[in-house]
Amino acid sequence: MEDAKEPGIVNSELDQRHVELKSLFETSKVLNSSLQLNTILNNLLLTPMGRMMISRGLVMVSEDGNKFSIRNIKGLSRELLNSTCDVEFRFDKPVFLTDVDLNECKLKNFFLELGIELILPINSTSRMIGMIALGKKINRSRYTEAELEFLNSLTNLASTAIENAIIFQKLESVNRKLDTKIQQLNTIFDIGRELNSTLDKKKIVNLLVYAIMGEMAAQRCNIFLKKGTKLTFADYRGGATKTGEMAVFADPDLLRELADVTKPFLVKDTILPSALAPLRNLNINAVVPMRIQDKTGGVVLLGERINHVDYTADDLEFLATLCNAAAISLENARLFDETIEKQRMEEELNIAREIQTRLLPDSYPEYDHFEIMGYNVPSREVGGDYFDCIRLDQHRFAIAIGDVSGKGAPASLLMSNLHAGLHTLIMTKADITTILSKLNNLIQAHTTFDKFITFFYAEINIDEFTLTYANAGHNPPFLYRRDGSCMSLEKGGLLLGMMPNLTYETETIQLKPGDQLLMFTDGVTEAMNTLEMEYGEWRLQAILEYALKNDLKIQELINKIVVEVKDFSQGMPQADDITMLGLKVLN
């Protein structure tokens, strides 16, 4: 091919010039058609290297004007790529390193060692955005003026393109971040929708784990959830759980510290309390709390990401949002379970209420000369108040009222016991003293010392118009006589269930037409108003006097008391069971 080197074809000044211009033209075309920094820098280095037979070169670029990093390299060790240094040296035309003062350009020796001979600035209108460093020409000839001029034109052409590419790169990185954010928001949206559509705890935890591991590509993920007041290990994904690890995760000190975590943190950036120190050995990189209403309802521990990239602040924020959403879902599931449980208990109590209501009389024996009426409203679903009216034989009937200590279900159990005991004893045709003594022993034997019953029992002989009673510590019933006097029926003995083998006194009273007997529990007299005043016995007595004067039927009397107590308490919730039993002797 030696023959191609004929005079007239090569070495002509015109041809040289032609190639030079063509090269500049092509370069400018490439530079302006690309926003990829690397393509531009490739062109910027390879063009002079090819044209002037230079075997090594590099380009440094600065994004902020101070830190310059090596962004492209030819004919030199690739390890130099992306190394960064501060460059204070500013210049505006090609400079040979031999002409540069070491004090001015600290990079001089570094460049000389790399075999760099010439450096060229890449200046934009406002600042130096980079420099090209070129080695010796391979034929050892010096750079000519024309070549320097060419290089200058080249860098001038490149500067705008580089500046644009830097901006483009920044935009791309911002876009990437935005895309990541959008992706994460979509995930939160998706997961949020899923989380809201389930009340299954296991499913919620599964969703959380998969969202975290999918989005973060975490190698492992441990979930702890609060049970009562303590955190317990709930779920595990990724890798194998070693027995040693489970021991660490069961450590009460570690669990206590985790329960106090309020913000997500990176293990490597945090000074850990000693109880959490084992996390480092377990390859845990991030700790994210599941927060709900300013409380930590659980904690997620995350292992290293598969790509070994650290979790960013954005990632932690994303994880926290995800964990909080799951915490709310879990709380909803818990509340739902609780509601179901409450409903079940309410249903049971309603059944108990029904049973209890059946223990109380729903109708009363009818007599020519006696009106009887009872009333009972427990403060809760079921109560401990008892009243009864039982036909004994053709001459006699019994009335009774009782109040079991305490309220609600426990009191109602004892009340039903009292009911059964009394009915059984009555069938034995025992007298009043025996009935109360045996009831006392029965209750005493089967309850603790703090459970007792106040009880009033009376038998009425309809032929003889007599009332015989015994009072076992119950609020004395009021007997209003036609003549306007009032008796408290107090004879009897101690409360039922306090101590065994007690005896009870009885008293017999001759009844007269117009007499009114009112038996009641302390729920009536101790009903409170908003000023914390009690309804009191005197108000009750006033109504009884009124009833006597106006000759109210027993039903009217009971109704009047109910209305007055309700008015008195001004909407205060009923604190105790309210029970009354009234008896009126007719002409």
């Binding site: 090569v10 190639v19 393509t39 490739n42 090819g50 075997s55 034929n139």
Partner: protein
């Protein structure tokens, strides 16, 4: 964008790269990558066959400059063959024939390695 392709055939310790299409700043990285791969595999005897190359820019020439020292340090070389007159003219204008073996035919380049 014009196409550029590199195909490689190894003949014992010599690797022949067949380059075709447009070699400019855009496509230069492909050639760089192909040569870097050879160097990484410690193959330092290269023949570049230019038979199907339709265009080369200064940047394309720059690729060869970027590797030549390293290759020669390992007693290797880049030899070039089968250039069309148009391509050769570019090399010639820039003085490459004084530095590189540019021969008519691939076989000749291989013989030169052997001798």
């Amino acid at each position: 964008m014009e196409n550029f392709n590199v195909n490689r055939i190894d003949k014992e310790d010599i690797s022949v790269l067949y380059i075709s299409g447009f070699l400019d700043a855009h496509t230069a990285p492909e050639l760089e990558e192909a040569i870097q791969k050879l160097i990484d595999g410690q193959r330092y005897k290269l023949v570049i066959n230019f038979k199907d190359l339709s265009y080369i820019s200064s940047a394309g020439l720059g690729v060869f400059m970027g590797f030549i020292e390293q290759i020669r340090e390992h007693s290797g070389d880049i030899k070039m063959s089968n250039m069309t007159p148009k391509i050769f003219r570019v090399f010639d204008l820039l003085g490459f024939p004084t530095l590189y073996d540019i021969v008519e035919d691939e076989t000749l380049a291989i013989i030169k390695f052997r001798s």
